[in-house]
Symmetry: D2
Subunit: 312 residues, 4 copies
């Protein structure tokens, strides 16, 4: 295999200067004003080596990538009982669709569409205050990324709340079916703050390392989560991590990944590396246009694919 | 890792004698009359070692498992152009749903639901006679399984045709949208015969070995298909191989797999082994009840999972 | 034709004592506790003659019947422009479905399903305070029924708000598509109060008389609304007045009608009479079980049907 | 009221020369080649007086208007049992949608969408030969229009069969759910021939007169069908006669009507008149663009509306 630093340098150079960059999410001003010309990439290997290039230190809104870590916490807490409240199947619908919820009587298809993540948030909120619920995810992220500076961008969270009619619709609809323990506004308060956490590619790549290592903390060797849970979070990322583009991502990139409308994607090559890539412009399905292409190239050049064992 | 022969023996003993065995497909008499008390399993490792137990030599109707091999041939023939006629996303609908076809104007969601496989069959039929089209898949299967005795069960094919109203509906609907080159009855004739191929677990496990080896022929080292195509067929199996139970199979078993209503499942552990498991009774989603459970246990005992690199 | 008083007496006697009475709406305690053994009917002819029987003087929650009068006011105010924000087609879905809203990008199918009535309410609220908006409908109802005692049942309204998650979902969803001018909570406040107006069969039958008379006030001969608007409100009642049971009501009863989950139905025989019937128990579709049957019998005995001109 | 001959003359002159004429159905050559500049209208009053203008004597393909007469025959034959196999609700979907069929397990929403008419045809075919089944409808039409020259256009029927993939999809899908007694191809043979009957506006207006007269033969006073059946056919026309434009037709025209893709509309003003209007160009929903507008004007000028009893 080529040298990883060469690869990320090449990729950052190539995709950092592309003309066609997708469209920055514009449903809140805080996301709409992000400079689309940014591009960052970080790889953290299973051994803990980091390779970064481009705007890898610039924090961005992780948005739905937070769902990966919220699911990890909820699975630890609830185990298999979680699946009584949320499904495990790809949805075949856009990320914010409400149609499926009606067909399935308030049980979201999976934890990575908005409806499912709202239920996961409700699980984490039950028995806690909203401050505790947010602190729990934030502390988990600080721990796995070994960085105490990670925080919620409150201006983003406020703006999400103000413009979040569709998520209010989803939460109220789920509650109407009895699948929410808390008041919709309370659960959404925690949900919007979790989505508004700001992290850089470097921080995210470190944060994903336990998913590369079957749940282990790479530094200490301790279990951050069970091997079983880590594998299952990876499975959910592969089948459901890119909304209605999950099949195409699995086909083109061949690695578990989760995207956010902030333009970030976290990707896991089990046994090899955790990868974070970021470029704010989105494609039609709502995934980062350039980060998707960059990860496809990275997978091709490294040979990393869960569908093959032959590393170049 | 434990000895593979011990594992398959244990599994065949345990699942061969379970009381709860699911329900045998009954839409045609030829499938309805199959003895539900059968159970077979075969593993063929990347090195070509075979481990079998139970009814591993009994031929059964491979049904939708044929879609894996038809897709391989169609991808070789058409390359990326194939995806203009069929999608790559999990469907979120039952295997024989027609709803999605209307929403997407005759383009099936993926090649592993019936509608998608009918389009793949149409691709393979175009420019050939139906005899040639069937011979092509049959010869491919004989080649990859190294067994010239594999054949179509014509009684099954005839019965499929006679009772295939739903598939006739799908094919006519696709044709109405201009996404079928041949007359529906002609494409379905090839499709039904491909589905009616009879194979044993042993034959199937050998047939899947090239998907373990990044497209290579394990015996000769020649490329049966490109590494790229092999990975992509595996990706489709993981995201779409079990209809509306694909997410759950990925979550529980963690390996690419494809089921058929005959009760068989072909499973691929890239780099490690090809596995075929068979028990005729189906669960509510239409996948073999016991073969699913057996493969979950096999994955747990071997540690094979595309979502982890730590083999026990 | 038989004497109308005989007919209503017969009907009140027969349906007042039926065993099978449907199920009282139970989503709020205020409706759940209504005695299901009540049955009332009132006819007010085009000439103003009233024929009542049973519990015709007992006030009940008119619920969705308020949508008829809200639509009349909105059509007067907006004319054809109203139809840019709400459709005129039967929905083929339950009264509180959200699926159609997503397919049609926030434009409800018609003004008589909840989503459509929320938009109509928003139209009436725009440019007014919520107190004024409620007063407007209330005053209209007092005027057309010639009864100043009609009022909102505030306990019902409060309970609707508290349990109205599904309507909050609808309103937020519509707002997410930009088809609501006011905040969802503000529009719903007016909506819930309008639904919580309490009226008796007698009051309702009087209130519907202008729809019998092509928009005229039966007492004064003045126009309450234009002939055009009155006909169109009748048309909407016939095609959309009973949710997913509208076709069956047209088929069995043959008259424009609008039901509410309080168990009331308002029915219009153009040129002949306005009819209100009430029994709290609902059928599976959410329309009064016995009022539907009673109106079918009334139509058969009077010969009133918009699909025939031969009066017995 | 103005003189009816003046009205039809005005209308024929105005709509005969409009520039914007809609789009002629082009799914078969026999319909695609019809001259779009034609426009005809005929009124036959309850007393039997005929008023015609424009191309009122030119025969055209009645297509779905045949469903009105097929339903009349099926209701006579089966009575209420018919409704076990087909619903009575507006569909909220296009005329050839298959989505609803899957949701409702093969029971079409109503007899006026294609799927429902195929079931009605199957009812009429059961126990007869296909020749007899076609003869039955043809003879009924000849009788009610008092014209022995009405016939099937076999070139149209053949072309419908050749290009009828979507209808083959519907029929096979219905059969897959067990809601078709005959082979799909046999039922469709009768269905396509019924749709291919050619009639002029004059013939159609006469044919609809029994629906004006509560089922009576205007000439003899005999019952062609029961009063109950006539009203119910009118009810189905009002709620379901214009596919997904039924609500709008009821709203604008206010009369029961049934359209066909040949550009014809049959309209019934109970007690007053039967009206046939024809212009080949269709609007986006598949109903005649100019015939719809002409009927709206006719209703306004005559005052005919089932939602009012005040005739100008």
């Amino acid at each position: 295999m080529e040298d990883l630093q060469t690869i990320v340098n090449d990729i950052a150079k190539k995709y950092g200067s592309k003309d066609e960059r997708g469209t920055v999410a514009d449903y809140i001003p805080q996301l709409a004003c992000v400079d689309p010309n940014q591009f960052g990439i970080s790889i953290v290997t299973s051994e803990g080596q980091e390779y970064s290039a481009g705007d890898a230190e610039v924090p961005f809104s992780i948005q739905s990538i937070s769902k990966v870590f919220a699911l990890t916490l909820a699975l630890q807490q609830e185990g298999a009982e979680l699946w009584e409240r949320v499904g495990r199947e790809p949805s075949g619908d856009p990320f914010n669709s409400i149609v499926q919820l009606e067909h399935d009587h308030g049980v979201p298809r999976n934890p990575f569409i908005n409806a499912g993540a709202i239920v996961v948030t409700d699980v984490l909120l039950t028995g806690s205050t909203s401050v505790e619920a947010n602190a729990r995810l934030l502390n988990f992220l600080r721990m796995v990324s070994e960085d105490e500076n990670i925080d919620i961008d409150l201006a983003v969270a406020e703006s999400e709340t103000e413009h979040g009619y569709r998520n209010f619709a989803l939460a109220n609809f789920i509650r109407a079916y009895g699948n929410l323990n808390n008041e919709p506004a309370d659960t959404l308060d925690v949900y919007f703050k979790n989505c508004s956490i700001a992290m850089s590619c470097q921080q995210l790549a470190h944060a994903g390392r336990f998913l590369v290592l079957d749940g282990q903390n790479g530094l200490t060797g301790d279990a951050i989560t069970s091997s079983r849970t880590a594998r299952r979070v990876n499975a959910m990322m592969l089948t459901c991590g890119h909304y209605d583009g999950s099949g195409e991502f699995a086909y083109r990139v061949g690695l578990p990944g989760k995207s956010g409308v902030g333009g970030g994607i976290l990707c896991v090559a089990p046994g090899f590396a955790s990868i974070a890539c970021w470029s704010p412009g989105l494609n039609a399905i709502g995934n980062s246009h350039l980060a998707t292409k960059a990860l496809e190239e990275l997978a091709a050049r490294t040979g990393w694919s869960v569908f093959s064992n032959s590393i170049k």
